[in-house]
Amino acid sequence: MGEARTATRNRTNTGPGRLLIAVYLLFAIAATSRAGLQIATKFGEAPVAYLLSALAALVYIVAAVGLARAGAAGRRLALACCSVELVGVVGVGVLSLVDPELFPDETVWSQFGSGYGYIPLVLPVLGLLWLWRTRHDPA
């Protein structure tokens, strides 16, 4: 029983975690529909940017699932996704400033996610902090 209580307190899918999942869901919806539309209607214009959007969308979906599942596997999944996101948003942010030719059309991660209020930059950091805060999850 004591174990169950600890588990509840440290679960990634309650409290602030649920807010995080909600924001991840919003970004999953935004990125998925945008990427889907771009790939369906004008893939030839900027294939790299659109594939990157699709990848970002996938990462947001899997991160939300990982946080919501809350077990050891879910945590690993979320950790991997948040890391990929952080690397992605910083990497693409730098590249899009250094060489704008590389991404002729906007992606979620261009200019460090400025098109989305820099939330793509903040989100993985919050995700990693949250995973750190709940690291004693016995599961």
Partner: protein
């Protein structure tokens, strides 16, 4: 261009403005609840319900305009934003009910801050000309 330009945008009027203002009010109320460590209250849930009604009315207006032959500047994106828009208040509602703590109020606040952005994007996808 002719019909759409003459009739104006169906998603840019008193209804859209009301939805934006209402959404921001609910967001502010939910923010206060979050800061006071309060779970989502009736005001937030009723606010979400009224917001949903306003958004559905906006959708009906848009569909009537589409039925009348008007066309948005970016039809695909317009449809995507419209569908997303009407899903937002129910999403906030469900998550808020799942989380009866201050964080439930925080979720309502976050979703109600996103909703006006989606309304504005919806208006932009209607108005893009010659795109």
């Amino acid at each position: 261009m002719t019909a759409a330009a003459a009739a104006g945008s169906p998603v840019d009027g008193i209804l859209a403005t009301a939805a934006i203002v209402l959404s921001l009010l609910v967001a502010a109320w939910a923010l206060v609840a979050t800061l006071r460590h309060r779970a989502p209250d009736r005001v937030q849930l009723i606010g979400l319900a009224v917001l949903e009604v306003a958004l559905l009315a906006l959708t009906v207006v848009a569909l009537v305009a589409l039925g009348g032959g008007d066309r948005p500047g970016e039809p695909g994106a317009f449809a995507g934003y419209l569908v997303t828009l009407v899903c937002l208040p129910p999403l906030a509602w469900v998550l808020a009910r799942m989380e009866p703590t201050r964080w439930g109020s925080a979720i309502v606040c976050a979703v109600c801050l996103v909703t006006p952005v989606v309304v504005v994007r919806l208006q932009q996808t209607w108005e893009v000309l010659g795109g």
